[in-house]
Each structure stands twice: as structure tokens, then as C-alpha cells.
């Protein structure tokens, strides 16, 4: 759920996304349960659903704005959300997922690669680019480059 929260930017959506994911896992357990690492599948689905949520929410917000609807488009993350996660969510999708899985979930680059379906080297590249962007946007120093 933490992964969904930081990637979707909505604590309430995260609850739904986590629930949907576990529901999907339950429904398809005949297949998912046979995977070597079912937890990888769960994380992957959460990450994908979270990004899809963002994309759809943004499109909804644009359409509402165009039609003059003033309803708040997105349930905002409460104050607990830091500027860091806001910056993470503005990263390209793979970079954001790599950051969340690495730092929040504590996965190794190889494990992140399993979740995202890419190599550890690709994850490293995503992380390097993400860190550079985050450091710039957060006006801080990227410790890895020091």
C-alpha cells in the first residue's frame, strides 16, 4: 500500500489499488501462485495500477476543466506526503517506479528489475537519471555523485 500511495499520490486511492491488486491475485491465484515469486507479481501490478491511476486522473482533470467542472480532480495526498514524493511522481514512469521500489520497498536493483521486467543494469540507469533529476528539482545534492 505504501508503494501505491507514493506512486499514485493518493492515500485513499492507494487503499483501493492495494485491494484491487490482492483481489486480482486471489482471483488468479491458480496462475500467480505458481510463480517463483508471487510477491514480485503483486508489486508489479501495484506499480502499474498506480501509474494508470495517475494517468487517468490527469485526463479526467483536464476534461473537467474543459467542461467547466470545478470539482477537485484528485484526492490530494495528505500533509504527510513530502515534496520528495511529489517530485518522484513527476519522473518518467519507470524512473518513479524504480525509485519507489528501491527506497521504499528496499529492493535490490535485481529485484526491481524482476518487478519491472527489465535488467538490473536498466534499473541502475533509471535510478541514476532519477536521482539526478530529483537532486535538481529538490535543490539538493545527489550524494552518489559526491
Amino acid at each position: 500500500m505504501a508503494l501505491a500511495a507514493v506512486l499514485s499520490g493518493s492515500r485513499w486511492a492507494a487503499e483501493d489499488l492495494a485491494q484491487e491488486t490482492f483481489s486480482a491475485a486471489h482471483q488468479q491465484w491458480d496462475r500467480v501462485g505458481k510463480y517463483e515469486h508471487p510477491q514480485v507479481w503483486v508489486r508489479r501490478v501495484v506499480a502499474n495500477k498506480s501509474v494508470s491511476f495517475i494517468r487517468r486522473s490527469v485526463a479526467q482533470a483536464r476534461a473537467r476543466t474543459r467542461l467547466g467542472h470545478n470539482r477537485p480532480p484528485l484526492p490530494e495526498m495528505p500533509d504527510e506526503s513530502s515534496e520528495v514524493w511529489d517530485a518522484v511522481r513527476r519522473l518518467p514512469r519507470r524512473q518513479a517506479q524504480s525509485v519507489a521500489l528501491t527506497y521504499l520497498e528496499g529492493l535490490s536493483v535485481e529485484e526491481v528489475g524482476l518487478v519491472l521486467g527489465c535488467s538490473g543494469g536498466t534499473v541502475k540507469t533509471h535510478l541514476k537519471r532519477a536521482r539526478a533529476t530529483l537532486a535538481r528539482r529538490l535543490a539538493t545534492s545527489d550524494g552518489s555523485e559526491q
Binding site: A2, R44, R62, E80, D142, Q146
Partner: protein, 312 residues
């Protein structure tokens, strides 16, 4: 000045604390005492007995009749079933018919081209129509997409690779709703979000209609009384009969020059008498303006759905 790692550590700690603070009760297996179970059973028996006595006293033991709304059905000639793709093209393309647009992409893990195919299935077609093409030229950018580049490249890919009608629809969508027409397809081979979700630039996939217009989010007021459909008399809601669980996110609906475009998720086929409903899901459908096919309707949940009459 805090380093990036320090900020990330703090942000991670905040989120973990946020999740921990959620008041989620621990899962406990429901326990039922035999006393409560016995009492519940007794209550049910008493209530059923009372209901039976009441029905007998009313002198009417027939089940209640659910009155269907009065539907005036007008027979409208359906398009010929003999239409071929060529004929459809001659008549302006399949978009004037009910059509399903589907497809898929496959990645050659050895570094080969990323091949996509798009299929068009319509009850008006005598045989499926498929087109296959590669997006090799843009594949290298999948990992580091640039939205703006993607937009132009994918638009070009559509224009070059797809049928003119599809490309025309895409062009129209992009011009009409530039902010809401996204150049992305949902690539989800398993149908469960587990493989790939939103990969920019893929020109076809299982929901190619999404690419071509599914993100034209047209929000409309949900009517209490559904508008009359050509040839169908009244549309009406059937409370309790709509399989709400089947459609909960079809707001990808837009009027296009080709008809009502519904994409992305779900819709309903409805029988001509307006009584029988059959959900279909994960389709992209264009309902024509004329003919006994479809109008925009709404679900009980307030989301928009597309209802269509399956051609007989």
C-alpha cells in the same frame, strides 16, 4: 543542506508512518457461537412462516410481477451482412458500422522489431481484418520516452500503418481534444496489469481504440431519462439488472464524426426489445449516428456507458 539520500530516507519514513497509522483492524476469522446461530435460525423460520401465512391470507400465492417499462420497438433495416472490407471502405469505412478494434504487440527479446498488429472485428465483416506492422524505429525510445516526441511519432505511425479511417479518427481526436488525446496504448498481455501498463507510443495493442481515442474523455451530464435511440422507442434504466460490476470506468466516450466512440472498457449489447442485456468488455466500439445501434446512457453508478443493439 540535506543530501538527496537524507531527503529520501525522511520521505520513506513518513510514508511508512502514514501506512502504520492507518487504523486497519487485524484480520480475525469470524466466530459464530452456536447460541447465536440457533437464534438466527429460529428468527428465519418464524419470519418465513409469517410471510407464508400473510401470503395465504392475501389469497394470492403468485410471485410479484416486475413490470417492464413500455417499450415501443420500431423495426429498422439492419445493414447488409454481406459487406466486405472493400465495400465498407467504399462507403466510408468500417467506422460507420459497429466494430471492435483490437490488437497486440510483441517484443522480440533478442532485439528484433517490436511488432504490433491491429485487428478489426465487426459483425458486418465477413472475415476479420488485420494489419501488422513494426514500430522498430521508435522502439529504442520506449525506455526513455519523451511525450512530445512520442505524440508526433506515433501519430505518424498511425497514419502510415493503419487504415485511413483509423488515422482519420486519430487526427480528428488529436485536433479536437489535443490535451486529452494521448498517444499511448495499454499493453497488457495478461489482462491483469501484470505485464506492461501504459507504455508510450505503442501503436496498437489489445485496446487500440484507447490509442485512437480512448482517452478522449467526454464527460456529460448523466440523464435521468435516457435519450431515445433511433428506431428503438425509449431507452430506460433497468435498476438492479445492470451488471454494475461489469462496467465501472467507461467514461471514454466521445461523439466523433464517425459516430459515438466508446473505448477502454465496457459496454452492453442490448436486444432490440430492450429487455435482454449482455455485457461486453474491453472493447473499443464505434456506434454510428444512424441505425438501431446505440446511444449514450448511464449506469446507476453515474459513470457513462455505451449501450448498443447487437445487429441480428
Amino acid at each position: 543542506m540535506m543530501t538527496l539520500d537524507q531527503k529520501l530516507d525522511q520521505a520513506v519514513a513518513d510514508v511508512r508512518q502514514l501506512v502504520e497509522d492507518l487504523d486497519v483492524p487485524p484480520f480475525e476469522k469470524p466466530r459464530t457461537s452456536w447460541v447465536l446461530a440457533l437464534a438466527a435460525a429460529l428468527v428465519v423460520v418464524v419470519l418465513m412462516g409469517g410471510l407464508g401465512w400473510w401470503l395465504t391470507a392475501q389469497g394470492d400465492d403468485t410471485p410479484p410481477v416486475i413490470t417492464q417499462p413500455d417499450v415501443t420497438t420500431t423495426t429498422v433495416p439492419l445493414p447488409s451482412q454481406e459487406l466486405t472490407m472493400e465495400k465498407l471502405n467504399n462507403q466510408g469505412g468500417f467506422l460507420r458500422s459497429v466494430a471492435k478494434i483490437g490488437g497486440g504487440c510483441g517484443e522480440d527479446l533478442e532485439g528484433g522489431p517490436f511488432v504490433c498488429e491491429t485487428s478489426i472485428d465487426s459483425p458486418l465483416l465477413t472475415e476479420p481484418f488485420e494489419v501488422e506492422y513494426t514500430v522498430e524505429a521508435i522502439f529504442d525510445q520506449v525506455l526513455q520516452p519523451d511525450d512530445f516526441e512520442w505524440e508526433s511519432k506515433v501519430g505518424a505511425a498511425a497514419r502510415e500503418s493503419l487504415e485511413p479511417e483509423l488515422a482519420g479518427l486519430y487526427t480528428w481526436a488529436l485536433a479536437t481534444y489535443p490535451d486529452e488525446t494521448e498517444t499511448e496504448c495499454r499493453v497488457d498481455f495478461q489482462g491483469d496489469d501484470s505485464v506492461l501498463a501504459w507504455e508510450p507510443g505503442y501503436a496498437a495493442n489489445e485496446q487500440c481504440g484507447v490509442y485512437l481515442g480512448g482517452l478522449i474523455n467526454e464527460y456529460r451530464p448523466v440523464p435521468d431519462e435516457l435519450p431515445p435511440a433511433p428506431g428503438l422507442g425509449r431507452w430506460y434504466r433497468v435498476p438492479g439488472q445492470l451488471p454494475d460490476a461489469e462496467f465501472n470506468s467507461l467514461f471514454d466516450v466521445a461523439e466523433t464524426p464517425f459516430g459515438l466512440l466508446a473505448t477502454g472498457t465496457d459496454g452492453l449489447w442490448i436486444s432490440e426489445d430492450g429487455v435482454t442485456w449482455e455485457p461486453f468488455a474491453r472493447d473499443a466500439v464505434v456506434f454510428p449516428e444512424a441505425g438501431p445501434f446505440a446511444r449514450l446512457a448511464s449506469s446507476e453508478l453515474g459513470t457513462l456507458c455505451a449501450y448498443g443493439v447487437r445487429p441480428s
